[in-house]
Structures are given as C-alpha cells and as structure tokens.
C-alpha cells in the first residue's frame, strides 16, 4: 500500500485538507501536495495505461521527467489532456481522470495487446498491413488511430487568456536549486540584474531533500535565508512555477510561467510566455535519475529511488510498506536510510557493484538493512502492483537466488545531467565514463552574437554531484560569467560544506548482464511508448544503427517526456548491440521545449479580435452601420457592397454600378497605398522603380505607372503624382502598399544607398474619397471646390482645395470610366468629409459603393486589376501595356528580365475581352481548351478567364482573359469547359466593353 506517514512531509500542510476528484472518486489531500503525491497518499498507485500494450502503469518519478503519470484535468472547455500529475499542484475542487483505457483504468480491453506483444515488436507496422491495398486506409489505420493517442481531445474555445512578457537582464539563471540560488547571489552581489526561474513552486531543489550540512547548519535554513536575501535585492527577480523551455540562436531564451494552474478560479492570464534576452545564461537545471533495466521494471510500485525519497520527505507519502532498493550507485542508499528512519521496512538493498557503496552503506548497515553486493533483480512479480522480486547475480543470465516479497522497488541507475538547454542552441557534450553520463563540453559552448560563450552550466546539470564540488564550481563559473560583463564581487564567499564521499557508479545498462531474451522482452526502456530492450536490439539487428534511426524505428524517447528517463538507457543498449562505445554512437538532438508548453501560451494575447488586428479607415463604423458586407483586403476590411433591406448582395452591386454610371457614386478609397518619395534623387529613383518615366512628370500632374519584379512580372500599379520639385506621391494597390514600401527600402538600402531619397508610407495619414459619375463635378463644386473645371483641372491632374476650411487635394483620375475625382484629406477629417458629401445625397442621388462595383466597372472599361489579370506570371506586354515600358530609359527593375527569350515568345497568352455566346457569366477561373492532349496526357489549354462578371451596364456576362494569340483572333469563338461537364462558348472581343472612346471620363 502507498499511504501517508504522519509527521513527515516538509511541503504539505496537514492542517489544510483539500478535496479533489480522480475518475469520479472524491479523495482528500493536503495543501502543498502535488496531484501525484495526493493520489499516492490515497493508495492510487495505478494511474494510467501505456501507449501500445495498455499495461497498467504507476508513477515512476516525481517531477517533469514523469512518463506515466498523465491525466486529464478540468472539465468542459477547460479540460486539459496529458497533464503531468507530478507537476500539477493540488487545489480544492481539482477534477482529474486517467487516460488511454476502455472501459476503465482497472479493466482495460486494450491489455490484450500485452499478450500479443511478441507479434508487435519494434516497427512491426512497417512489415505488415500491406495487403490488400485498401485495408490500410479503411481497416488498419482507423484501428491504430483509435488505440493510439493518449488523452481525450480538448473541446471548443479555450476560456482562458495567455500573455507574453519580455525581459532584458544581465544574467538569466535557470533552476532554483542550491547551485542556482548561490549563483544568483554571486551574480547579484556584483550588481548584475538577475532573473532566476524555477519550474516548481519551491526553491531549494534536491538538496532540501537530502539535507547535507552547510556552514555548520541545516541546508533548509541556508536556503530560506538565501532566498530571503535575494528577494530583498532590487536587482534580482525570482519567478517560481516558471520553466526554462528553450534557448535559441544567440541565447534568445524562452520561459513558461504557469500563473493560475495551481488554484481553481484564479483571475488573470493562465500562462505567461517569457521571451528573455540575457547577456549571459547560467543553467542550474539539475540531474535526472535513470531507471534500471530489469524485467517488469514497469509494474506499478517500481519507482526511481530519488522519487521514493522525495515523496517521503516532502509529502510524507510512502510508496510501499516493504521497499527493495536496487542500485548501481551510492545515492539510492539515502532512500533506504530515509525509509528505515521513517519506520518503514527495507528488506534489502541490491547493489550491482561487487564492492558496494561507501560511507552510506555503513549507515544503512548500522540501521540493520541487509545489503547484497554484486546482485541484481531478475524479475519483478505482480501485475497491477509489485508483489515481490527475484534476486539474482548481476553477472550471469538471471538464475533466481532468492524470492523476496515486497510491495515497492526503489531503483537507481545513476544520474543524467539536464543538458537540454545547453544543447538546444549548439552546446556540445562529452561522455564521462566515470559518471556514466553526458556532460557539457565546456570547450564547445553555445555562443552569442559576439561569437563567445553565452551559456554556462553549474550544479549537477554540469555533472557535479557532491555538494562541495557543486558550490565551488558554481562560484568559479559565476565569477567568470560576471567578469565577462565587466563585474566582480567578493561579497558572496563560498560556504563551507562537507559532502559524504561516495563510491563511483558502475555502468549497468541491463540487469543482469546476460539477461535472457525472455527477461529482456519484459524490460522497459521507454515506459510511455512501450519500448523494450529487445526492441532496441531488434533495431540494431535490422541495421538501424544510427541513434536517430533506432529512435524513430522503436519510438524510444519520442513520448511526451521526450526520453528524459529513457534516452541514455536506450542509447547504451544500442551501442552494446552494435559493439560500439556510447560516445561513438552519440545522442539524438535535443529539441525545444524542455517540457511541453500550451499552444495558448505560444499564441499569447493575439486571438479573436486581436489576431491580426483589423485596419480600419475613419469611415469604417459608418460603413458598418450602413449595411457593409465586408471583404478582407490585406489587413484592411473594405465594404464589398452595402446591402439594403430586402436586397441580395447581387442586387446591391447592380444598384451601385447603375448609380455610378447614371448619377453619382462615392467610394471610400482610403486603403489605397500612398507612399511619399522625397529627396533630390526621387525622379531618378522612381525611373528605376517604375517601368515608365516618372522624372519628367510635370508639377500638378499624375501618371499611371507599373512596377515589375526583378523577373519582369507585373506586381503593382497605380497613379503617381508630382507634388513638388523633389517629391512624388506614389499610389499603390490597397494590398500592395507594405510590399512596395519595403521593396523601395530594400533597393535604396542595398543597391542605391547613394541616392538621396526618403520613402514614407503615408497610407494611414490620408483618407481618400472617390466621387464618380456625371454629376461628380457638381458635387465637388457644391462642397466649395473652385478649381476643378475641365480647363483648370484636366484629366490626370491634381489641385489643392479647401473644403469647409479643411485642406484637401483633388485628383482627377478614373478607374471606372466615368468622370471621377479622388479627394484626399487628412485622416482625422475623413469621416467629416464623407458625411458632408453624403449630406448632398438627396440632391445628387449619391450612392456609396463597394469594392465589387469598383471591380465590375473597371472590367467594363477593360482596366486590369493586380491580382486578377496578374498572378506573378504575367508581364505588362501580355496585358497590352507595352506603352508603359519606357524605351528611353537605360534601365528599370524588370527591364533585363524582359529581354529573356520566353518573354517575347509570341505564344504568350495576351489580354482580350470575352463574351459568352449565350450572354451568361463565364465561370470564375475557367480555362479555354485547344486540341487534344499534351505529352503527359493533360488537356491542351489556350487561355483562361482572369475576371468575369455580370455587367449591369451592358446587361450580360463579360470577362477579361488571357488567350494565346488573343488580340489577333478577335471575333473567334473558343471553348471553356466547366466543372459540371458542360462547355461555355465565348467570343474573343476587345477588352474595352464600355465607352471605348473615353467620352464619359471627360465630361
């Protein structure tokens, strides 16, 4: 039985009981418990089922490395699957459930897989389910998908909030054990700004469990005082419940703080993601104990020795009444001693080393604990719970010497330094034979922007296990690190300690050495993913010799614990099977995050309305009130049309177009890109950017211009206005403003840095209103514009005016074919002007129109639209825009590309108008087919539709398209197959459907 032991448990407050639920059962724990310790206190050792064989599994560890203790937490939309019980703090009202079983945790049908395990070795699925072909999709895959996956899915929208914090410090210290704390002190005393983060809610780490002497006093007292001292310094910030999850290029670090997970109904954000720029990083992330590989080492009740000790010391929970300790190093003796001192029985310490342990062995023996050196566990008995073990020699094949009954096994296979953060951004590792572990190679550290080391490691993360070494190295390393920052201190002297001398560990990767296949096929390496010793051996046998191959073939280390317990053990088995040494086989790559972090925290505040905030023109709310159907354009929303009561979208567009053609329409054109180009070389610069000449543009005039990419493809168009001698205002498409602006900057900064030119994106500084239609001039005159008669403001000219005391600029340009003015006004007056214009609604029959009417009208006029007629493969020549390619200029972006062979190929598809022979609208995106098929069996195509609309003006379908030899084939009919097996016939016509002579725009 696992149970609570009164009087023990430094972290729990037994006067504060809490109730919580596990699989519907009401249970009790104490304040300070983790979910894991509380479950254990209730004798709930069985906590889940494994991934593949659905074997019953209990807790193995007590921290972030726990592979089995995964539960579902919370309810409804607040449900979280795969939460680690060992890192979940208990609170009143916590609801949890176990995972991956059916119908229940205690009785799981999936357990049959266990009996079939000999048929399901590593990679079995690559070798089977091959025939018959459809069976994979329809039978096998669905079964595998159902039985795989751990937790239940989350549901719906997450009710919680998440946030991002940014920190800039001198020294970031990851880990709040004694090395981290002491390092923080040394750094802080030098005056450095220090941020110390610790993943658990408590500082002190492993030492507070083992309680060595320090400065002649208890370590607990030392930790408390040091913490208090640090908290009192204003150059130190300490964050508990905060995991260092990743270190990226140049030491950019990521930490994950859990703010509200430890209480029900706490306010505020749930998680906070810290993005930290530290001049130096020190990781003091400790070490993780490794399991030992003996048969049935996964039966609930087999636990890491340090975890057994942790549950006892910190939470007052015993895993069993009779615990056998099995080890290859001295540290596990501490567990035996603690258990014995707590009044529990320890029938035996099994030490695989023939010479056994040092001082600790003596202490244990003095307590009356039996110790067997050179021995091993042959097999563990029990299914849902340890019942006993068979003792054997460590050498040999596991012949049973003695049966020992027990209800728990505490195992220790040595310690692996937590080197994840060190490795994330390139720090190299060395295999330390003495320690049987990889430790940081201090010669090859991760480097920062200056190419020098940016990360150092202290404490057991560095492979130091004795307290004397830990503090001494921490002191030296921290002094070195702050020296890099130009700082020093002698105010944090090294405390005096005396650690207990330990005998060295011996490598035991298999227990016993010569374990039979029968034993090995029950010996687990990766508990969560169900990978056994025989699986790794099979991988090696089949040629999966690289660690990465073996890992992928067996899935070792790919579970949610990312192999924190299993990687080194698996690697050792692999190298043994390959008859190579461990370092020459090497490790797999360490990938962030160190522990899983919520997707919510990664997304941060940017969700729903704040996900890509909408850019709004000053008239946005007006549009919204007047029935705007919105269309996203870049990050803007623009009215597609304004739908009136009882009207369909189609009818609305029809009404808007008709109004523009017959009366007056107004458009909010504020989203149009506006880039101000200034400086004495502006003309020269724009001559390079645009295909046509801009430098000779007269003051007060506008010119339509084209911009091509380096490869010659048309990417943007718009009207450029010459504002004064040295400045031009370049209008771009609404979606293109940012790109064109950055393209201009790129050229200026990388190629033409000697040009005196300044570009500013002023798109949001000005609102722009287009007034379109026969009566447009009268509307403007009514507003008070006096200089806009045909003579003083000809087509493609602009003029400054004052309207109700507001400065405006009026451009006479047209994208609709009608007489049209664009009035530009500072944005804060945009809505004012818009309202003033619409106050004349009755008098002139003014109708606001949206983007769709705009598109229809330009198509009726045969004007191209970037993104419709162009798609990144179309050159101006294809669109009949050769006139806009200056012949006088030596160069412009795209000119050389236009000289490439294929650009002048006569077969290129060219712009034409298309009219279906029956007046219908040709389907969007349709292709015209030619004769037969090409050499790869595709239908030959000879053109395509680029824009297609019903024209309210002409009362029939019209389209623009690109057709091979199109302009030479006016009057011919071509075929457009549709997706419904019918064919639309269309006549090739001129692309200008409406007012070809341009009378209307000149009225």
């Amino acid at each position: 039985m696992s149970s609570r032991i009164p009087g023990h448990g430094g972290l729990v407050n037994s006067s504060k009981p809490l109730t919580f639920q596990f699989n519907g059962k009401e249970l009790e724990g104490f304040q300070g418990d983790t979910l894991a310790s509380a479950l254990l206190a209730n004798n709930q050792l069985l906590i889940g089922r494994s991934f593949k064989y659905h074997r019953p599994r209990g807790l193995v560890a007590s921290g972030a490395e726990e592979p089995n203790g995964l539960v579902g937490l919370g309810e409804a939309n607040s449900f979280e699957p795969n939460a680690r019980a060992t890192t979940t703090e208990l609170f009143d009202g916590l609801v949890s459930c176990s995972q991956n079983h059916w119908p229940s945790l205690e009785f799981d049908i999936g357990y049959v897989n266990n009996y079939l395990s000999s048929l399901l070795p590593a990679g079995f699925y690559y070798k089977t389910f091959i025939h018959p072909r459809p069976a994979w999709k329809y039978i096998f895959e669905p079964i595998i998908r159902k039985s795989a996956g751990l937790g239940k899915p989350t549901k719906g929208k997450d009710p919680d909030k998440y946030e991002h914090f940014y920190a800039y410090v001198d020294v970031l210290i990851v880990g709040g054990g004694i090395s981290g704390l002491y390092s923080a002190k040394v750094a802080a005393k030098s005056g450095a700004r220090v941020l110390l983060i610790e993943q658990t809610p408590h500082l002190g780490g492993q030492a507070s469990i083992d309680n060595p002497l320090i400065d002649q006093g208890s370590i607990a007292k030392w930790i408390t005082e040091l913490t208090k001292e640090l908290e009192g310094m204003n150059n130190v910030t300490i964050k508990a419940r905060t995991v260092g999850v990743g270190v990226y290029d140049h030491g950019y670090s990521l930490a994950y703080e859990r703010l509200t997970d430890h209480e029900l109904n706490l306010n505020g954000s749930r998680h906070r993601l810290w993005k930290i720029r530290a001049k130096q990083i020190i990781t003091a992330t400790g070490a993780i104990e490794r399991p030992l590989s003996f048969a049935n080492n996964d039966v609930p009740g087999v636990m890491l020795a340090s975890a057994v000790r942790n549950y006892l010391t910190n939470y007052g929970v015993s895993i069993g009444d009779r615990t056998v300790v099995v080890t290859n190093n001295d540290d596990a003796y501490r567990t035996a001693i603690s258990l014995k001192n707590a009044g529990l029985s320890v029938p035996l310490i099994i030490d695989s080393r023939p010479s056994g342990a040092g001082e600790l062995a003596k202490t244990a023996r003095d307590l009356g604990i039996r110790i067997e050196n050179g021995k091993a566990i042959s097999i563990v008995h029990g299914k849902d719970r340890v019942k006993g073990i068979s003792l054997c020699d460590q050498v040999g094949s596991g012949t049973v010497l003695e049966e020992i009954s027990c209800d728990a096994v505490a195992m220790s296979g040595g310690w692996s330094p937590v080197v994840h953060l060190w490795s994330h951004c390139g720090g190299k590792l060395n295999w330390d034979n003495e320690l049987c572990a990889f430790r940081p190679d201090t010669q090859l550290p991760p480097t920062g922007v200056n190419g020098l080391a940016c990360l150092s490691v202290v404490g057991s993360a560095n492979g130091d296990l004795l307290i004397d070494d830990i503090l001494r190295v921490t002191y030296e390393v921290t002094l070195r690190v702050i020296k890099e920052l130009g700082l020093e201190t002698n105010e944090a002297p090294l405390p005096s300690t005396k650690g207990i001398k330990e005998n060295s560990i011996s490598a035991v990767w298999k227990m016993p050495y010569g374990a039979s296949t029968k034993l090995k096929s029950k010996t687990w390496l990766d508990f969560q993913n169900d990978v056994k010793v025989t699986d790794v051996e099979l991988a090696a046998q089949e040629g999966f010799e690289s660690v990465e191959h073996a890992k992928r073939y067996t899935t070792l280390g790919m579970a949610t614990d990312q192999g924190k317990l299993s990687n080194i053990n698996g690697l050792a088995i692999l190298s043994e099977s390959l008859h190579k040494d461990i370092p020459s086989v090497g490790t797999t790559t360490f990938r962030p995050p160190y522990s899983p972090i919520s997707m919510g925290s990664i997304a941060g505040e940017a969700r729903s309305e704040l996900f890509q905030p909408i850019r709004k023109t000053p008239m946005h709310d007006w549009h919204d009130k007047h029935g705007a159907k919105w269309e996203p354009v870049g990050h803007w929303l623009r009215p597609y049309c304004y739908v009136q009561k009882g009207e369909s979208v189609k009818q609305a567009v029809f009404r808007e177009v008709t109004a523009c053609r017959n009366k007056v329409g107004v458009l909010d054109a504020s989203t149009l890109g506006k880039i101000m180009v200034r400086g004495k070389d502006s003309g020269k610069f724009l001559d390079m950017i645009y295909t046509n000449m801009m430098s000779n543009l007269k003051l007060g005039k506008c010119r339509y211009g084209l911009i091509c990419s380096e490869n010659g493809f048309l990417i943007d168009d718009g009207v450029v206005a010459r504002i004064d001698e040295n400045s031009y205002l370049c209008h771009t498409t609404s979606g293109g403003a940012e790109n064109i602006h950055s393209m201009m900057e790129e050229w200026l900064q990388t190629e033409w840095w000697d040009f005196e030119v300044y570009v500013t994106n002023v798109t949001e500084q000005f609102s722009q209103i287009t007034v379109v239609g026969e009566n447009a001039r009268r509307v403007l005159e009514k507003l008070g514009c006096s200089k806009i008669c045909s003579d003083s403001l000809p087509f493609m000219g602009w003029v400054d005016e004052k309207v109700f005391g507001v400065d405006v600029r009026v451009y006479r340009i047209s994208f609709s074919g009608e007489l049209s003015f664009e009035i530009s006004v500072p944005s804060n007056k945009g809505l004012f002007l818009w309202n003033e214009i619409l106050s004349l609604e009755k008098e002139f029959g003014i109708t606001p129109y949206g983007t769709e009417a705009l598109h229809v009208m330009r198509a009726e006029k045969g004007f191209i639209m970037i993104g419709d007629e162009t798609d990144g493969t179309v050159i101006p020549q294809d669109l009949g825009l050769d006139w806009a390619l200056s012949k006088k200029k030596n160069d412009y972006i795209g000119k050389r590309a236009h000289q490439r062979l294929y650009m002048s190929n006569p077969e290129r598809w060219k712009l034409v108008g298309l009219e279906s022979t029956d007046g219908s609208v040709i389907p969007e995106g349709a292709y015209a087919i030619g004769l037969g098929e090409n050499e790869v069996g595709q239908k030959v195509t000879i053109g395509r539709v680029t824009s297609t609309y019903y024209s309210p003006t002409l009362k029939k379908g019209i389209a623009l398209g690109l057709v091979a030899y199109g302009p030479d084939r006016l009057g011919e009919t071509i075929q457009f197959p549709t997706l419904t097996n019918s064919v639309v016939e269309a006549k090739i016509v001129s692309p200008i459907f409406y007012d070809p002579d341009g009378f209307k725009q000149n009225v």
């Binding site: 079995f124 690559y126 751990l150 929208k157 089949e542 010799e545 790559t589």
Partner: protein, 415 residues
Amino acid sequence: MKRYSSFAIVREAFRNHSGWKKAWESPIPKKKYDVVIVGAGGHGLATAYYLGKNHGITNVAVLEKGWLGGGNTGRNTTIIRSNYLQDPSAAIYEKSRSLYENLSQDLNYNLMFSPRGVMMLAQTEHEVRGYKRTAMANALQGVPTEYISPEKVKELCPIINISGPRYPVLGALWQARGGTARHDAVAWGYARKCSDMGMHILQQKEVTSIISKNGRIGGVATTGGDILCDKLCIVVAGHSGALAEMGGFRLPLESVALQALVSEPIKPVMDVVVMANTVHGYMSQSDKGEMVIGGGADGYNNYTQRGSFHHIEETVRSLVETFPMISRLKMLRQWGGIVDMTGDRSPIISKTPLENCFINCGWGTGGFKAIPGSGWATAEMVASGEAGPLASPFSLNRFKEGRFIDESVAAGVAH
C-alpha cells in the same frame, strides 16, 4: 530479401524475431560505379530505385553524409497532394501521388500512405478565385479536385472554426485522394529495395569535392576516400548550393530553415489535412495522435537546422485561431530542416554545365509528396542522358529563358 508480411511476423515471433535480416547492408565501397547519387534522402533513394527498376541500372552507389533519410525527408510534415496549378507541376506531383497509392505493395514496406484528403482553405475573395481556378485547371490536368463550401469544410473537419471573426472560411479546395504517409518509412522502404537490388547505400560518407576532367564528371572525393563514376546525380536539397560549387557551377537557390512542431498525442479529432494559407499554417493528426503543425519558412538564409521561435509563434497563433481547441494542447517538440528554395518555387531536375552530372533539387517546402515521381523522372534523365516529358519543364534553362513555373500564384505556402 526476406518478404515482410503478417505471416513472417508470426513465424518470427516463435523465434524471438532473431531471423530478421538487415533492412539494408553496409557494404565496402567499390572503386567505381556506373552511377553515383549524392544524398540518401527520399529523392536520392527513389532515383536509385527507379534506375534499377525501370532502367536496369544497378551498379549504383548512394552516398550520404549522415544517416539515410535524416535530411528533410525525415523532418517534414508529410503532406501529399497534387492539386497544383501549373501543368508541369500537376503532371509530376500527380504522377508521384499515384505512385504513392501502390508504393507500399511495390516496396513491400508499409509506408502508411493514407489518402485521407487534403483541403486548402479559402479565406479571402482572392483565394476563392485562386482555388476555383485551380479546380478548373486540375480538371483538365486529370487531377480530381473539388471546390467545396464552408459547410462541407465543417463536416469534413468539425474542429475548424469557420466563422472568423478575422478570416471566416469561404470555401476550400479539396483533394480527396491527397493525404499523408510515414516519412521515415519512405526512405527506409526505398533503401531496403535498393540494397536488395545490389546497390550500395553508403552512410557517413560526405562528398567533399567533385572530380571532373575536361568538363566531364569523373567521380567524387568523400570523407571515406575517392569514388569514381560515369554519371553523377546530386540530390542534396538544402546543400545543393554547396555541391554545385564543388562542381564549378551556381544554382538559383536559397537555403532557409523551415520549421514544424507537434503537440502531445490525443485521441483522433481530425481525419483530414487542412492548410490555411491566408494565415500561414497547416495541421493534420498523425496516426500516433500528435497534431502535426507547420507554417512559413524563416525570412533569412541559414544552414543550422534550428530556426527561430518567431515562426513557431506565428504559426501557432494562426492555428489557434483556425482550430480553437488546440489552445489547451501542448507543444511537444519543434524542429527545422533546411529547404532549398528557387525563385519560382518549383524544383530543378536538370542536366548541369558539367557533362554527365545531373541535379535534382529545389523542392523547397514541398518535396516529400514528390519523392516517387521525382525519382521516376530523374532516373529517366540519368539513364538516357536527356530529361523526359515529366522532367524537361524543370530544367535549369528555364531561369535563363524566363520560362518559370510559378506555383506561389495559387498558394502562399506549398507544402
């Protein structure tokens, strides 16, 4: 070679699986081969396989600097589709997709090809037009695709948020026979067959220089000594620029990091692959239960396989918006691969200025789906010395002539 089957497994179970042979041999290199392929990724191995299978050329070595399949082939998010817009792309990707249909049987290796359907969401009017156009093009190219309504999107993938607020789903391009496959298995399956045909797969052999004489290929120098050959085919993805430099020519390529991530595994919630290109993210659920997520490539060139966190953040942000339920799942692991991007986002399968030296590269962010088809076409080119109809549009010459095959037209991302 020992055939894989359920019966073989049962038989082996009785002798503790001691009878399984090596999936591929680690032979001692010969002095000279007819064809040497540099790079044992999917494309290199598939090229070797079809050289043997379609053209009877088996005196072949595939040289790999690390472990086979360890490049992008073992790092990608395994989306397989062929609903490309341009004719040459649709041809080679559809060839590839159709080869995938029978590849498990062909290789006697379960690649777990799972044609569960791929949808590309249209979230702007512009995308709606683009995908309708693609559907039209696909119909003429013999690639079955469909433009579907938002309701159908929701039905096929109930966890999608189709109502915005920012980008409501307006429709989607749906390819029912698109899907995913197990990436490692593709490399391993090809490697096993190649080895079985007597080809040499030589791992831990990095090519360090190219040996040529009078503009003609002679062989390569490797970290394990010189190896001579009549023909050389370079298939090294992100490292193509480095190999080209050894061969004395340049390529129109940039190498950038592309990243991906997975969540912790959960029970099945999503049976299709969804790509949301407006917001730059895509997601599917692996057979193991992990949500497999990817997005755009880093904005700067580099060779480290790490990548920055910024892109992860951008991708996850987009997907939390598209699939609100993932907010409470946890990211388990992120990683990156170096992808080789051409200017028109289409691959290069071509002869090079060096005689008898061929190149296959430029698959960028989307070449996993192309492995069988590309291997097929590349083998044809290497065997005959000239590119066949599938490969010829992808020659290096197209950059000189301006005959680009631009796929970025239809989709911002091309996985």
